[in-house]
């Protein structure tokens, strides 16, 4: 087993984050839920035909079984994410709140609260729009919360916008194994991972707020899947104060993320991180890491075709405010004190130091696969993972390089990137 950022590098200190749990605006508990509407809603989902709009009026509805939709071309529309609330508090069956196996699907203006598993899963489909939807676990961050808030997987042409995800025990917004994706103007708070882009190709993640998560924005690649992820742009986001103690279930990918992580890349390629406001993340504002640092690497269980290295990562023109002052776990704390003194901080960028030496050209990283940090005075710490963290060192200007900017993603429903940046405000505590 490899060395884990949290499992070995760190000593698993869950901070006082659970006490910070208050969050969200879920009104579900105050109103007595309607228990009779469920049957009608299931009937509508079963009878749905292409072109149908299933309107759910304002109200709080108790749902005790997982809902599912199989018909293409359907819109589900509520009266607002704080007005139409499906509460799954009493759910006895179903791995999701709502499971959608369909294309040309739009869901907007409603909330899914306290699902036993994932709140909304969209499994395989094209042209998916998730807009002004709130997925929330109303009891604050707990390991027993459902895994994913908004969870499209294996979809093509995806827009997630103006939505809210709170309290997921894995990722609030999780885009898996998808292609052509825009995730914008969402708010992710008090999740283990705020927004996670995994094994996904061609994604634009912008104008989002990720705060009070364990890790704000994750761009990951996992082994043993059909497609590797690459080409993600993370820009114009606010990624601030993601210091909630990691409450992910041990063994899950996100359980390896240290609390206090702003943006983290793991084993993914071609990731451009620019023009973001990133600060107050107590371990590091940006982490660039390989699969070796998750603690899950093993030769038998990981397909040999898997590329565990982060390559062609380009960090530039972000506005960093101080972070790294109180990294998660004893080992990272020790590293901070050893290198920067009792009152010092880890620098803005932390790199685990792994690179694929087989791809070196003339003894050096191929410039096309380089990790480039060209971000003013921001410093990168090489944690020297391959040598068991023996000789960590600041990289100075050694990583100062440029890569070709990634192209903008064209998702028809999203249109071009608006000139005006609109990042949502944090929820009221």
């Amino acid at each position: 087993m490899g060395q884990g950022w949290r499992g070995v590098l760190s000593g698993l200190t869950i901070t006082g984050a659970l006490a910070l749990a208050a969050c969200g605006q879920g009104g579900g508990t105050a109103v007595k839920p309607n228990t009779t509407y469920q049957e009608q809603l299931i009937q509508k989902l079963i009878d749905a035909k292409p072109g149908d709009v299933i309107s759910i009026p304002a109200g709080v509805y108790a749902i005790d079984r997982g809902l599912s939709l199989d018909a293409d071309g359907v819109t589900i529309r509520g009266a607002g994410m704080d007005k139409t609330i499906l509460t799954f508090k009493g759910q006895t069956a179903g791995a999701e709140g709502l499971l959608v196996n369909a294309s040309d699907f739009t869901i907007e203006d409603l909330a899914l609260e306290d699902a036993k598993g994932d709140a909304l899963k969209v499994n395989e489909g094209e042209n998916i729009i998730i807009r002004r939807v709130r997925a929330e676990w109303t009891g604050g961050p707990k390991t027993s919360n459902g895994a994913y808030g908004l969870y499209p997987v294996q979809v093509k042409n995806l827009l997630i916008e103006d939505s809210v995800a709170i309290g997921a025990s894995d990722a609030g917004i999780y885009v898996g194994q998808s292609n052509n994706v825009v995730v914008r103007r969402n708010r992710a708070e008090f999740n283990v991972a705020g927004i996670e882009i995994e094994n996904t190709q061609n994604a634009d993640v912008y104008d989002n707020l990720a705060t009070n998560n364990t890790g704000g924005i994750l761009v990951f690649n996992m082994p043993n899947l059909k497609v590797p992820g690459f080409a993600t742009r993370v820009f114009r986001n606010r990624v601030e104060g993601n210091n909630t103690g990691n409450f992910g279930r041990k063994g899950s990918a996100v359980a390896s993320v240290p609390a206090g992580t702003g943006v983290i890349v793991n084993a993914n390629d071609k990731v451009e991180i620019f023009d973001n406001d990133i600060g107050g993340n107590n371990t590091s504002n940006v982490i660039i890491s390989s699969y070796f640092s998750t603690g899950y690497m093993n030769k038998e269980g990981v397909a040999p075709t898997f590329d565990p290295w982060p390559e062609a990562i380009y960090v530039h023109d972000n506005r960093f405010s101080p972070g790294g002052a109180k990294p998660d776990g004893l080992d990272l704390q020790a590293l901070r004190v050893a290198m920067f003194g009792l009152t010092g901080s880890l620098p803005d960028v932390l790199w685990d130091g792994y690179a694929d030496t087989k791809k070196f050209k003339a003894g050096k990283t191929d410039p096309a696969l380089a990790i480039c940090v060209d971000n003013g005075s921001a410093q990168t710490l090489n944690a020297d993972g391959p040598n068991k963290n023996k000789s960590p060192k600041l990289m100075g200007d050694a990583l100062r390089c440029q890569l070709a900017p990634l192209p903008a993603i064209a998702v028809a429903a999203a249109g071009p990137v608006p000139a005006e940046r609109k990042v949502p405000a944090p929820g009221k505590p």
């Binding site: 087993m1 049957e39 299931i42 009937q43 989902l45 079963i46 005790d64 079984r65 997982g66 599912s68 939709l69 199989d70 759910q91 006895t92 069956a93 179903g94 791995a95 196996n101 699902a115 036993k116 598993g117 994932d118 499994n123 395989e124 390991t143 027993s144 919360n145 459902g146 895994a147 994913y148 969870y151 997987v153 294996q154 025990s169 894995d170 999780y174 898996g176 194994q177 995994e198 996992m222 082994p223 043993n224 899947l225 059909k226 992910g248 279930r249 041990k250 063994g251 899950s252 990918a253 359980a255 998750t294 603690g295 899950y296 093993n298 030769k299 038998e300 269980g301 990981v302 397909a303």
Partner: protein, 370 residues
Amino acid sequence: MKRLCCLLLGLILTACAPGPLQPRFIADGAPEALADWGMVGVRDGRLVLAAGAQPYELNTPLFTDYAGKLRTVWMPKGQPATWTPDAPLDFPVGTVVTKTFFYPKAADGTVAPGDGLSLSQTGDGLDLGKIHLVETRVLVRRAGGWAAFPYLWNEAQTRATLKRTGAAIPVTLTRPGRRDAFVYQVPNVNQCAGCHATDHAAKALQPIGLKSRHLDREVTLAGQSYNQIARLTQLGYLRGAPAATTRVRAPDWRDESVAVEPRARAWLDINCGHCHSPKGPADTSGLYLDIATPPGPSLGLCKPPVAAGQGTGGFSHDIAPGDPDQSILIFRTASLDPGAMMPELGRSLTHDEGLALLRRWIAAMPPGCR
């Protein structure tokens, strides 16, 4: 005119007295009553089968909360299914498959496990004095593909009515030394696809059990012993089946004379493989539990989970060879938490005996992940 009226009256009276079942294919629509299909029905306190509704059982069946299952297949005359080695048999338009879920009555108003009953005990009908009917699912091959309809039996056990939205039924199951009160989930129509849409991109429904490997079995019915593939052929329901010696058959998961591994794989194939296959809806996990997947990471050996979330149970590998207690597969098969349990649909109880078999299989593997 008067004669016609009397004649009509006569027909109506005839319709009211239940005669023999008239099996038929209904080409479209959603028939409200199970009786409309004429495959199974209640006569004189028994659930009986129509002539031509051939009962069958599987070498290793899917677990459904210890319910007994009486399965039938019926095809229009002169249009046999075509044998295929791996895929479900290629059935003609007009094929109607039924599966009736029931529990034997226990002494004190609860029910007992019915999953151990063999075709010799169920295949010529069920005594409603001794068993309680829950639901009958109909899978019909129409011109546009397979369609699924769940019918729920009434309390009086006289008729079953279409319940497209599914149902939650409280059941108390008595087993030696234990009693479990649980909620039996009748799936809704969309959830039928959760298992039967085995090719998730195509999203078309398919039968799961009606494969040669599962059907190739010696059974006894009404005192006669026969091989089910041979019988289907003899009935004109199947053509193209090769000689028995060349066919691959799944083992009976309970057959202690067979090694543990093939039985565990057969259990995984029928319980998990319809989703966990390279084309199934659970291909998102990278974990393939169908019979075609060779041992390795895809079968879960040393494989880190992908999107299991809380379903990891705190463990790092889908299967930790040699160590069932550290295997996510075991944790999720045992779990009753909707957010963690596997399969996601179709059970509210743990299949203790199936779980024990999986544990033996994993425990016997050479330990460790390198």
